[in-house]
């Protein structure tokens, strides 16, 4: 099997592209889960984000505005989820599933008029000179701006969770909401903020799909990426950098298997399609073999209803 520099660069570039929507949606969910809220509505929020971003960009021609509106739309969806689960104490799993179903339907309804509208893709960043370096250039300096933004967000989230007072409170709320409440932290307010952040990130991930990855709107275009993002959070044992690694690994193996197929290597394609899942699970399980540490990382209050009077 021949692997020249161009192929390697193509795989590496495509890997970042495939990983970015997963990383964005997953880091939002990670924050939400760290605060103790399991939101299974990621897929729905992504789709609503995707259609909003597309609609706004196609109408105004301004992709930045499209992304901002996508994040706002994701937050609106998350607000609805928060109102039901935090305000009305509804079951988080059921509400999350309902949010996904609602998001799929709503995005299809809103997007009806935009099916088949073409949209020019966003230009990649292309930093002069640097992006001309072979291999390193296109991979590190020639990506879509959102690729860099997603890495910056992961870094920020990691810093926030581990190095700031706000992050400590958020984790405390997720670990033991009664204790956090007893020492005077606003459990509900903290969770609302975390859930809203999750919605914004899912919305942005959706915007990436409809503006950058495949610049178009078609129903259900996320094709299950929201669910993969949810799984990544667990496999990454709620650690932001590990999450990024998982997303890139998943994206990388997805792309690599396509190239291997094209080169005519005789491995069943069904097995190849399984590889990204297998590889990601395997690696993340291996680097987090210590079971007690996983339990330490998993927020103890995840999915539990909090009622201050009890």
């Amino acid at each position: 099997m021949e692997m020249d520099l161009g192929t390697t660069a193509a795989i590496a570039t495509a890997m970042a592209r495939a990983a970015t929507p997963l990383a964005l949606a997953a880091v939002g969910e990670l924050v939400s889960e760290k605060s103790g809220v399991l939101n299974l509505g990621v897929e729905g929020m992504m789709l609503v984000g995707a259609v909003s971003a597309f609609a706004v960009t196609a109408t105004t021609g301004n992709p930045v505005l499209g992304m901002v509106v996508a994040m706002a739309a994701g937050m609106l969806m998350a607000l609805l989820f928060g109102f039901l689960t935090l305000g009305l104490l509804a079951n988080q799993v059921a509400t999350g599933l309902a949010l996904t179903i609602f998001g799929v339907g709503l995005s299809a309804f809103v997007g009806k008029g935009f099916v088949g509208t073409p949209l020019p893709g966003l230009p990649s960043l292309d930093i002069p000179f640097l992006s001309d370096i072979p291999l390193i250039g296109p991979v590190f300096f020639g990506q879509d701006p959102l690729v860099y933004v997603s890495v910056a967000i992961i870094a920020a989230v990691s810093w926030f969770l581990n190095r700031t007072r706000g992050g400590l409170i958020l984790r405390a709320v997720g670990e033991n909401h009664d204790a956090a409440h007893a020492i005077g932290h606003g459990v509900i307010a903290t969770r609302y903020r975390a859930v809203l952040f999750g919605g914004a990130m899912s919305g942005l991930a959706g915007a990436y799909l409809s503006l950058v990855y495949t610049p178009m709107w078609i129903e259900n275009m996320s094709a299950g990426r929201g669910w993969i993002a949810l799984a990544l959070v667990v496999f990454a044992t709620w650690k932001p950098w590990r999450l990024l690694l998982g997303a890139y690994l998943f994206g990388g193996v997805t792309i690599a298997q396509l190239h291997v197929q094209g080169l005519g290597v005789n491995i069943p394609s069904q097995l190849m399609s399984m590889l990204p899942y297998l590889a990601t699970i395997l690696v993340l399980v291996l680097i987090s073999r210590d079971a007690t540490r996983i339990r330490l990382n998993a927020p103890a209050c995840i999915g539990k209803v909090f009622h201050p009077e009890r």
């Binding site: 799929v104 009806k112 178009m216 259900n220 197929q261 094209g262 080169l263 069943p268 069904q270």
Partner: protein, 359 residues
């Protein structure tokens, strides 16, 4: 994923205009459609719905149509089909291979309701089947690809290794090699009917590996968009996708169910409906070649039209011998043609396809 497809939107299209008291027409025939994907997929389900809309338009207040989209193959499908049957529908079209067993089951329970199942092989007195010979169209676009490729490498984005898809790859390759024996087809399987992201990556991979023309047997227009971006050519799938790549989109194989839906509904109205197996092709326009892009040179258009007309006239069969398999052995000798039965169970690549068929 599974959850999202459980969504059910039953949109009822009512016959236009109110029936006046004086001219009370007979009750309209109620026709139901069940789609596996969303009508907005711009592919398979979209084209079935185009057929439904044409039916409604053509027969006006003689007919009342309804559809349910994004129905999961399996238990969910049976529930939806039964709902149609129980609600007094006269004719129900179930438009995906996976609806076969549930359709048969419900058909046995409702002998007075007529059913039509697309792409299946199980029939009953009140259950007909219909499908299209898309391979005829693929042979035509293969001709175009063979004449237009400069790198002699043509990319093919495939969904699942089932006979329908394999037959398409083979017909495409045969059409291509008939005009250009040096050209070969590179296949990438994405193991999905519909995943814009994955289809995009497969298209990019094929182009990176030297393909200058793309063909696809997946439903999203993402590969067309990539072709446009990279300055190569591509063929649309199921519907005309030219707006996604005004320069790249050479032509498309369009699924045209319109005439069939109208004819079969009329048969129900006239009382002449019988259970049949229909396998339409270019001749009945069930498989339609959309408008050629101006990027296609005139001699190529002429050749493609010649091939298309020869297939319609019956003087050319895409699977007429001699046909060799990948090992170079003659599988169909000169003077013979692959039977429909063999075509329906196609599980081997012809010479000119690269790589091995996943089994």
């Amino acid at each position: 994923m599974s959850i999202s497809t459980k969504r059910m939107f039953a949109a009822v299209a009512l016959a236009a205009g109110l029936a006046t008291g004086a001219a009370q027409a007979a009750d309209p025939v109620k026709v139901g459609f069940i789609y596996v994907g969303p009508v907005g997929d711009h592919g398979w389900s979209y084209q079935h719905d185009q057929g439904r809309q044409a039916l409604q338009e053509a027969l006006g207040d003689q007919v009342e149509t309804s559809f349910v989209e994004s129905v999961q193959e399996g238990a969910d499908a049976e529930r939806v089909i039964r709902q149609f049957a129980a609600n007094g529908f006269d004719l129900v079209f179930t438009t995906s291979f996976g609806f076969m067993n549930p359709t048969l089951k419900v058909a046995q329970q409702f002998p007075d309701v007529k059913f039509e199942h697309a792409t299946g092989y199980k029939r009953a007195d009140n259950l007909a089947t219909y499908a299209a010979r898309f391979y005829e169209g693929r042979y035509v676009i293969g001709t175009i690809a063979g004449m237009m490729t400069k790198s002699n490498t043509v990319g093919y984005i495939a969904s699942f290794p089932i006979p329908e898809v394999v037959r398409g790859i083979d017909a495409f390759t045969l059409g291509m090699q008939a005009v250009n024996p040096k050209a070969t087809v590179k296949v990438i399987w994405v193991n999905s009917w519909y995943d814009p992201g994955k289809e995009r990556e497969a298209a990019e991979t094929l182009i990176a590996q030297g393909a200058d023309i793309l063909s696809q047997h997946t439903d999203s227009p993402a590969p067309i968009q990539v072709a446009e971006e990279k300055g190569v050519h591509a063929f649309g799938q199921a519907s005309d996708m030219s707006r996604f790549g005004p320069k790249a989109h050479l032509t498309a194989i369009v699924d045209n169910w319109r005439d069939y839906y109208i004819a079969r509904t009329k048969a129900v109205i006239d009382g002449t409906w019988t259970s049949e197996d229909t396998w339409g092709g270019l001749a009945s326009d069930m498989v339609h070649i959309s408008e050629y892009n101006s990027e296609v040179p005139e001699d190529v258009v002429a050749k493609a039209e010649e091939v298309r007309e020869a297939i319609i006239a019956g003087t050319l069969h895409p699977f007429a011998g001699p046909i060799k398999n990948q090992a170079g052995e003659v599988v169909v000798p000169e003077g013979e043609t692959l039977s429909d039965e063999k075509l329906l169970s196609m599980d081997w690549y012809v010479e000119g396809v690269q790589g091995e068929l996943p089994k």
